[in-house]
């Protein structure tokens, strides 16, 4: 009995040493309820701010272009006039990031939520939305600044958006504003370089798809490598589908190659500071395409034109480098994948980029590649990709544009 008593006392002493960080007050942000005399004092409206100019608009751009014009002249230096006025020529076009924000005022402080949702054919596409919340008596650039990011997804040029302002409690008022995005996000060259978002197809981005010809001799699975609309994209309307069956058992099914690259910026960075990012979609099990998620792999990476004897010609897979990383697409839905240039490994195929000089030379990047692999071989495999973007210094973060 004495021992039990001693243990009990020790128990209480031990408990007295437990700490509590928040002992009083409230947990979480305070809910400010709209009172019965709550009033909205003006109209909810989107505004943009591009450094020196603020304006409201139904059309917004996530970038603005600063254009500098000069009077045009002939080769001899004579001014060119049109209807007596000097003709101007564009000498410099510089894009800048543009912040969009909303403005509205209330007569009291209240907790609010501003929901931005993509609007397609008269209905909301809830897969791309953004919720901005706060407690204040107004909305302005200090509390609703927005750069086009969604809930880990992205809004895009040509998207229609519905912005809805509602109040957490006390008022059933919902304010709405609809707007159109004319131009998509802009990234500083030292921040990121968008490779392709598939919204304007492949040709304009010097991209092309290819299929393993040895798999084409069999039916009934017909391979698909191209622009896709069936899966809701994380940005815009299009993504790229890679799909097929590895009939001949060589693991390779096909892929896409994108050659439009900002090598001028890339050459200034160490491979440890360059990231290749893209959204990858994994199909659910029991999907209608019979895709095996366990066997679906994507090899993503760069090819470099680094053979001095091959300058001026196409990429030579026998003598030039391809660096890649294999991603197992074993999830369902869209996922943002980021791989560092320095973490890529030379291609395992000696005849397809595995016989180059083996050195990372970002300034000599020729293309971004994405190849569909079946491993185990012989399976039906598939995935979609979207928004391929190169970032510098850190992986792409859609929540922090």
């Amino acid at each position: 009995m004495k021992n039990i008593f001693l243990v009990f006392i020790s128990f209480l002493l031990l408990f007295s040493s437990c700490k509590r960080t928040v002992k009083e007050g409230i947990v979480g942000p305070e809910i400010k309820t709209a009172s019965s005399s709550f009033l909205v004092l003006d109209t909810l409206k989107a505004n943009y701010f591009d450094g020196y100019k603020k304006a409201s608009s139904d059309t917004i751009s996530l970038r603005y272009i600063e254009e500098i014009y000069q009077p045009d002249s002939t080769e001899e230096g004579e001014a060119i006039l049109i209807n007596g006025m000097p003709k101007l020529k564009l000498v410099k076009s510089t894009p800048y990031k543009r912040s969009t924000f909303w403005k509205v005022k209330f007569n009291e402080e209240v907790s609010w939520n501003l929901t931005l949702t993509k609007f397609v054919n008269g209905q909301k596409d809830n897969s791309i939305r953004k919720i901005i919340s706060g407690t204040s008596s107004y909305l302005d650039s200090t509390n609703t600044s927005w750069n086009g990011n969604g809930n880990s997804t992205l809004f895009a040029a040509s998207d229609n958006i519905i912005a809805e302002l509602s109040f957490v409690n006390g008022s059933t008022i919902i304010l709405r504003d609809t707007l159109y995005i004319a131009k998509g996000q802009f990234f500083e060259p030292t921040q990121a370089s968008l490779v392709i978002d598939f919204e304007s197809g492949l040709a304009s981005n010097s991209a092309y798809e290819y299929t393993d010809k040895k798999d084409l001799t069999k039916i009934p699975i017909a391979p698909r490598f191209g622009i896709d609309h069936d899966v809701l994209a994380p940005q815009g309307a299009n993504s790229f589908i890679l799909y097929g069956k590895d009939y001949n058992g060589d693991y390779f099914c096909g892929g896409v190659n994108i050659q439009k690259m900002d090598t001028e910026t890339m050459k200034n960075y160490n491979p440890r500071d360059i990231y290749l990012n893209m959204y990858i979609y994994g199909y659910p099990s029991n999907n209608s395409l019979e895709i095996s998620s366990k066997a679906t792999k994507l090899n993503i990476g760069f090819s470099e034109k680094d053979n001095p004897l091959n300058q001026g010609k196409d990429f030579d897979p026998l003598t030039e480098d391809t660096f890649e990383k294999q991603i197992s697409v074993d999830w369902v839905g869209w996922k943002l994948i980021s791989v560092r240039y320095a973490d890529l490994v030379p291609s395992g195929s000696k005849t397809s980029g595995g016989s180059g000089n083996g050195r990372f030379e970002p300034g000599k990047v020729y293309s971004v590649n994405c190849n569909l692999i079946s491993s185990p071989n012989g399976s039906v495999v598939g995935a979609n990709i979207d928004y391929v973007i190169i970032t510098y210094g850190q992986p792409f973060d859609a929540n922090n544009l």
């Binding site: 021992n3 039990i4 243990v7 009990f8 128990f11 031990l14 408990f15 437990c18 700490k19 509590r20 960080t21 928040v22 009083e24 007050g25 409230i26 947990v27 979480g28 942000p29 305070e30 809910i31 400010k32 309820t33 907790s111 939520n113 929901t115 209905q123 909301k124 809830n126 897969s127 919720i131 919340s133 706060g134 407690t135 809805e164 509602s166 957490v168 409690n169 006390g170 919902i174 659910p284 029991n286 019979e290 990383k325 991603i327 996922k335 943002l336 994948i337 980021s338 791989v339 560092r340 973490d343 850190q394 992986p395 973060d397």
Partner: protein, 588 residues
């Protein structure tokens, strides 16, 4: 000829002795199942619907073969191989083969028992616990059959979590001062590192030291830790660590026909989350205590137990291994819930209807029939939940920000003619959530099971069951809350022929009022985006069918279920789902 005969007999003896040795070394266990279901959705929500799917048929056959190898007394290896064929994929096209479970068990020096691989672990309700979040103790056997399938598929065996790692335990006996000392330690990995997404490995580890002083007194110390392992991913953006330490004790004393019990558990948590990119750090500590007394009266033919306890769980008490929800509640986005933090749940049967404009919300029916709604991993962030299903303890007994009294009564008759229990909880919050006003919670749950055949001395089984769970949540002030919800269960099983049962059942939930649903960000903190969810709905399921029992574990059942969903808040979205379900289950 003689020599040939002798040779044949010798070979036979050797073969039979070898076969005998094989069954000692290797034995088999397993489960086979065939499921077929036919579903239809009707009602005003689909009356003019020309776009959505309104009928569906599906099913599968599966066979889990357990191979258990015992090469010695101190070592055992077991694997469960699964072959599954989904309907529509006959002739092997849709078939899959996978390893469902792999485990090695043994003993080191006959003292320390260990298991490695896929293991089931559990400690106390505040440290490592897989809790049931909706009350269903007295539901009909037909609902139980469906729930057992869901539990089996999601490895929900009792209150343990299925994890991958190592567990070791030992028991030491003493001659003086204490009877036994039990030691247990485990280490598991709950999330694998992913270089591509910069996510590090996350480990769950811990243990228990349990001292059984005598038959009158026990005391134990428990520890669970959940930590990211730095360096297992390049550019780790987040670093998460959570440590929970508790002590629990029990006392027992018998006086005549009375047994008096005392019990308590108390402990603390330390939470740390670092966002390396944003150079932000969130650290907080909190504690809990839970203690009570009970008395059991045991006259000759029945036992009656009465227990009362009081607990306080701090608002920031963090114990992911005890607070992770088994089911993923999805608060769908619609006009009533415009701020819901997630998109519509495509895992659901008939996930969209009304010309694909209306997402179908999870119902009671989905929660006991759909294996895809369940979660099999420990989550560091408290998940969103639908408050009408359980608002008192949405994260189990370890739900943070709760304090109050719990009283339980149970009755068990020795011949099992009747089993009944009742519990009531009167709780409040410790701190206000978003407001200084505190929520108050009132809950009652209970039910009975009556073996009528034992009462009237009838040879064939007739069982009647009924259960009830009611909850009320209130909060005054500007951000007022008033939510009531009631769950009712009723069931009857009648054995009409030997092994052949006719079974009926009813299950419903009625909920009305409002509640603020909180959203949390990556560091488990509350965000501004509170969702004021207003509901007025009823879901009722009626079921009837039969079951033929080949033995205790093998049976065939056919049942028909009808779900009626009625929503008084949003017009035009009511519907019914009719389901015909065939199931054959074989266990050996």
């Amino acid at each position: 000829m003689k020599i040939t005969k002798l040779l044949a007999i010798s070979i036979g003896l050797v073969a039979s002795s070898t076969a005998y040795s094989q069954s000692d070394l290797v034995n088999f266990s397993g489960l086979g199942r065939v499921n077929v279901e036919n579903d239809k959705i009707t009602g005003e929500g689909v009356d003019n619907d020309t776009t959505s799917i309104k009928r569906a048929t599906g099913g599968y056959t599966l066979f889990d073969l357990g191979i258990n190898v015992n090469p010695s007394e101190l070592l055992k290896a077991s694997v469960i191989l699964r072959a599954k064929n989904t309907f529509g994929g006959f002739y092997g096209d849709g078939a899959s083969l996978q390893i469902r479970q792999f485990r090695i068990e043994g003993a080191v020096g006959k003292i320390v028992k260990y298991q490695v691989g896929d293991i089931d672990l559990g400690l106390t309700p505040y440290t490592l616990h897989n809790f049931e979040e909706v009350y269903h103790d007295y539901e009909s056997d037909l609902f139980k059959i469906r729930r057992d399938i869901v539990s089996y598929e999601n490895f929900n065996f009792g209150s343990k979590w299925r994890l991958q790692g190592l567990d070791a335990k030992t028991t030491l006996k003493f001659a003086r001062f204490i009877d036994k000392l039990k030691l247990n330690a485990f280490g598991t990995r709950v999330k694998q590192a992913n270089f591509s997404t910069n996510e590090p490995d996350r480990l769950l580890y811990g243990g228990r030291i349990h001292v059984i002083q005598s038959k009158y007194f026990e005391i134990a110390g428990n520890l669970t830790g959940l930590s990211d392992v730095a360096g297992t991913a390049r550019d780790s953006v987040f670093q998460y660590d959570n440590l929970v330490a508790t002590t629990d004790l029990k006392g027992n004393y018998e006086v005549g026909k009375f047994e008096i019990k005392a019990f308590a558990e108390l402990g603390s948590s330390n939470y740390s989350f670092k966002n390396i990119k944003k150079k932000k750090e969130y650290i907080y500590d909190d504690y809990f205590y839970d203690g009570g007394l009970g008395v059991v009266y045991k006259p000759s033919t029945f036992t009656v137990g009465l227990e009362g306890s009081y607990r306080e769980v701090g608002a920031q008490f963090s114990s992911p291994a005890a607070q992770t929800r088994r089911i993923n509640d999805v608060v769908i986005i619609n006009d009533a819930n415009p701020l819901a933090n997630t998109v519509n749940d495509k895992n659901l049967l008939f996930s969209s209807y009304n010309n694909l404009t209306q997402a179908r919300e999870q119902t009671l029916f989905d929660r006991y029939t759909n294996t895809g709604l369940y979660n099999q991993s420990i989550r560091p962030v408290l998940g969103t939940f639908l408050p009408e299903y359980n608002n008192l303890t949405p994260y189990g007994t370890a739900t943070p920000n709760r304090k109050g009294l719990t009283v339980k009564v149970n009755v068990k008759e020795k011949e099992k003619v009747v089993v009944a229990d009742f519990a009531t909880e009167m709780l409040t919050e410790v701190l206000g959530e978003g407001t200084k006003e505190l929520r108050t919670f009132m809950g009652m749950r209970g039910g009975f099971l009556l073996n009528i055949n034992k009462l009237v001395k009838f040879k064939k089984s007739i069982v009647l069951s009924a259960g009830y769970r009611g909850e009320q949540t209130k909060r005054s002030g500007d951000a007022s809350v008033d939510l009531k919800s009631t769950i009712i269960d009723a069931g009857i099983t009648v054995e009409v022929l030997k092994g052949f049962d006719l079974i009926g059942g009813y299950k419903s939930i009625t909920a009305s009022g409002n509640e603020f649903i909180a959203n949390r960000n990556q560091d488990n903190g509350l965000t501004f985006a509170y969702l004021n969810r207003s509901i007025d709905k009823n879901e009722g399921v009626v079921t009837g069918g039969f079951r033929y029992r080949f033995n205790n574990k093998t049976f065939f059942t056919v049942n028909y279920q009808k779900l009626a969903y009625r929503n008084e808040k949003i017009k035009g979205i009511n519907y019914n789902i009719d389901q015909l379900f065939f199931n054959y289950t074989l266990v050996f």
